[in-house]
Assembly symmetry: C2
Homo-oligomer: 197 residues x 2
């Protein structure tokens, strides 16, 4: 079964791409991250709500504050990456809906007047966007090191004091360094992951 996507792109994004655990010193620029964003921003979210927010942790001081919330080896790994980003869901994403989803101006008030609804939808859709973003990092020729081993409640207090952002993923980004990759672990077979009804 052949795909429409060419083999080189398949390898770049999926087949040969792997989570990087070490990085070279080569800087990752704002322009590179903007190019990633400007590619993946088109991928779908509910009502085009686009709740993902990206915090680029650039200053030494911010990086040191971030790693106080890391678990295990994630702290040292983060300190050696040329760029680390915090991904969060904007719990006030609904404020942008009249502009982002002009086809249905009622959506903002009909579905998202309650914070709990914004938190559920915002987190779900920002997480979908995180999937697109990881693919986009690879599309830029960079390696990603996504980490869920952080105290995200701590990160929210540290960086988003107003309670309007709910962080859920930290990603190291850069060119892979020495011994960056662990051996590829097995994946589930299609017949284990898929069922027909």
């Amino acid at each position: 079964m052949s795909l429409a996507l060419d083999a080189t792109a398949q390898d770049l994004l999926f087949r040969e791409a792997q989570t990087a655990n070490t990085f070279t010193d080569e800087p990752v620029t704002d322009e590179q991250i903007q190019a990633v964003y400007d590619l993946v921003k088109y991928a779908p979210t509910a009502f085009n709500g686009s709740p993902l927010r990206i915090t680029l942790v650039r200053s030494e001081e911010a990086r040191r504050r971030l790693v106080t919330h890391a678990m295990g080896a994630n702290g040292p790994k983060t300190l050696t990456a040329p760029l680390t980003v915090i991904l969060s869901a904007d719990l006030d994403f609904h404020e942008q809906l009249p502009r982002l989803f002009p086809a249905m101006p009622t959506v903002k008030d009909a579905f998202f007047s309650e914070l709990a609804a914004r938190e559920a939808s915002g987190t779900q859709n920002a997480t979908l966007q995180a999937g697109y973003f990881i693919v986009g990092i690879r599309a830029a020729g960079l390696a990603a090191g996504p980490m869920t081993g952080y105290d995200f409640t701590g990160i929210d207090k540290e960086f988003f004091g107003d309670g309007k952002q709910k962080s859920f993923l930290v990603i190291n980004i850069g060119k892979p360094g020495a011994e960056a990759f662990h051996p590829r672990s097995p994946r589930l077979e299609f017949t284990e992951a898929a069922t027909t009804v």
Copy 2:
């Protein structure tokens, strides 16, 4: 800023791809979905846990049961798609961890003995995988119509009676039909979605 990914692939996956609202009659085969899966299965999840499960809704009877849980226009849309899939998180994904993450055989018991931990991590990582899967559908030259407007608690009872699956997204898949696409809505600018600290 140029990306490593070639422009044709950028267009196929992101820049020209759009959510489809109508489809042709052309069937979507199991082989096509397997090709999508076998591409995107390599993208990262926490501890390689790979909690996403895909239910292909093929029989007329299953399709009719599914749409009883649809909101608004999603029911009629689903009935005209050549294939609809339910994406869910397997809450027992941890049972596979000793095989999927052999580097750390203790992970299963250390982190996932509690159902609440499996539900949080399983849902988050299955949602990341849903993002990869939507990209993969486009990589196969197909259009996706992802829908969150379903009663997922109802779907879980209807299709996953044992309580071991938590559904969160339904996706129509096929070749786009007549007037399949709405006009592209605006996206947030990079400076609106990204901040530097």
